[in-house]
């Protein structure tokens, strides 16, 4: 068995709306698989199907060889999930929340207590273990929910927007934890809006839009595939608007970002020459001039726009 997750022809409809439309993909064992898409693209629906929360209308999904529809308990036993909209039990203490999850997964008492102590110390929640989760900040609650997911030492960990709305330090702690558990052999399925996070964490990325998979590849390959998204970024000593720059047939799009102008092109050399000529003719000083490879965000926006037919 090569794959941790296999999805074949998965479909889910809500009335007349198709949330997930015959999607296919595999997640290899021990990889961090990013799942990107705009709001309403079908990310959360896909995760809910894969974690056995809702049933698909068609297709199959297997987790470590266990069909989520035919063997839901076996599949759920080896996964853990940090749902996007989930909460810990606010009327239970951090410790009681962890013990509950341990009991629901059949983790022996001594083992779950040991793991809980370890996790709470790692996430700097140990001193608050006897406090009700009601009084926790958003960051503390999110760390507690992650602790609850990790207590079971899952083979596959589903994370739906795990760092959304968190401060920089908490987000970094969670990203470091994801890396560490992945190094120790956990397969990670990560849904996120944060392109930089996906770029830095994921081995491969799937982009989903309107319930369909628009692309699957590793972040670097996705970026390289979009040669038209290369860009030249320039700033001058005086303010220059996009319209003032000379027309260049190789520029597909130009936009002003702060004091810089970004010109998308598949011929950076030609664009640089025209910028230098323009600066000389206007007696402008070039403050900075950089050629940029497409970012994952550029690729993402391009794919989403292509789907919409923009």
């Amino acid at each position: 068995m090569e794959h941790a997750i296999e999805v074949k022809d998965l479909t889910k409809n809500y009335g007349e709306i198709t949330a997930v439309n015959h999607i296919n993909f595999e997640v290899r064992k021990k990889e961090i698989f990013g799942f990107l898409g705009p709001n309403g693209a079908g990310k959360t629906t896909t995760i809910r199907i894969l974690t056995g929360v809702i049933k698909p209308d068609g297709g199959t999904a297997t987790i470590m060889g266990h069909n989520i529809l035919k063997e839901p308990l076996k599949a759920k036993q080896i996964i853990s999930v940090v749902p996007e909209m989930a909460n810990a039990y606010i009327n239970l203490t951090a410790w009681q929340n962890l013990m509950l999850i341990g009991e629901l997964y059949g983790v022996p008492k001594k083992v779950r207590q040991e793991r809980a102590r370890h996790l709470l110390r790692d996430f700097k929640l140990f001193e608050r273990r006897k406090h009700l989760a009601r009084g926790f900040s958003k960051g503390m609650k999110q760390k507690l929910i992650l602790c609850m997911a990790l207590l079971t030492e899952p083979q596959v960990l589903f994370l739906d927007e795990p760092t959304s709305g968190l401060d920089v330090e908490s987000a970094r702690l969670i990203r470091d934890t994801i890396r560490q558990y992945n190094r120790d052999g956990t397969t990670i399925f990560l849904s996120t809006h944060n392109m930089e996070e996906a770029n830095r964490l994921c081995d491969r990325i799937a982009i989903i839009n309107h319930g369909e998979i628009a692309a699957i590849d590793n972040p670097e390959s996705l970026r390289m595939k979009s040669s038209t998204l290369k860009s030249v970024e320039v700033s001058f000593n005086k303010s220059v608007s996009v319209n003032e720059l000379p027309k260049n047939a190789n520029v597909t799009e130009a936009k002003k970002i702060g004091d810089k102008i970004k010109l998308y092109t598949d011929e950076p050399h030609s664009v640089i020459n025209s910028i230098i000529d323009y600066a000389r003719s206007q007696d402008l000083k070039i403050i900075s001039l950089n050629t940029l490879a497409p970012t994952l965000e550029d690729v993402f926006i391009k794919l989403v726009r292509e789907y919409k037919g923009d």
Binding site: V53, V81, A86
Partner: protein, 251 residues
């Protein structure tokens, strides 16, 4: 861990019950519908009517166990949906039946504990219990039956508003109190009333209490127990079927 799936699931059901008791036993709807409502009902209908103590005891214990055993169950699922803990729970390796059984056990234990109060009041007031063992068994089976009924009442509509479920269940619970032999003993009812009463599980419990305290009952003890067990199985089976369909709609 999954070598004995049934026993393992049963253990997980108890874990859910423990969680429910910790969280919900002192929540507003549970206190109102589980403790205050039966007290007011009792005061409204029995005080000043010069009824024999044995009949008062039947009414008090019947209403207490009925309301208290049904107070936690209907609130849990909508509460969990609203507080966004249901999705996490549904993603754990716990069957829907075990999840619901956990809710039933919590309601059942709460009903048992609260019912100790009227039993104590009855004993202190001089109620003589002729068949104490049968009364204990009756309380046990009735509490489980009513707790299962509560879970059934929470199955539909698939809402995340606890008050909606509590109101719906109240609409069902109140009429049942009036037709179950609490206010009019079954043997004093008209035929059509008796037929109506036979559809209420509370009828069989009040009949059992009458047997245990007064030595007379309309149905045989065997019929009373069989009815309570039959209703329990029916409520649980239907509740599991409906919840399996409605749970995803609450997320």
């Amino acid at each position: 861990m999954l070598e004995y799936p049934f026993l393992e699931q049963l253990k997980r059901a108890f874990a859910i019950a423990k969680k429910n008791l910790r969280i919900y036993y002192k929540s507003g709807p549970v206190l109102i519908f589980g403790l205050i409502t039966p007290c007011f009902f009792f005061l409204a209908f029995f005080i000043g009517r010069n009824l024999p103590i044995q009949q008062l005891f039947t009414g008090l214990i019947g209403m207490t166990i009925f309301f208290s055993s049904m107070s936690i169950g209907p609130a849990i699922v909508p509460f969990e949906a609203r507080s966004r803990t249901l999705e996490r729970l549904v993603s754990t390796p716990v069957s829907v039946w075990a999840l619901l059984l956990g809710d039933v056990i919590a309601s059942f234990l709460y009903g048992l504990l609260v019912t100790i109060i009227p039993v104590t009041i009855g004993l202190v007031s001089g109620v003589s219990i002729i068949h104490p063992l049968i009364l204990c068994l009756g309380i046990f089976f009735a509490a489980f039956c009513f707790a299962s009924f509560g879970i059934l009442l929470s199955a539909y509509p698939p809402t995340d508003v606890p008050s909606t479920v509590m109101m719906t269940s109240t609409l069902v619970k109140f009429p049942l109190v009036f037709i179950s032999g609490i206010f009019i003993p079954i043997w004093e009812m008209h035929d059509w009333q008796r037929i109506l009463a036979s559809f209420s599980p509370l009828t069989y419990f009040t009949d059992l209490v009458n047997y245990c305290t007064q030595g007379t009952s309309y149905y045989s003890v065997f019929v009373d127990f069989a009815a309570l067990i039959g209703f329990t199985l029916l409520f649980l089976t239907v509740a599991i079927k409906i919840h399996e369909k409605t749970l995803p709609k609450r997320l």
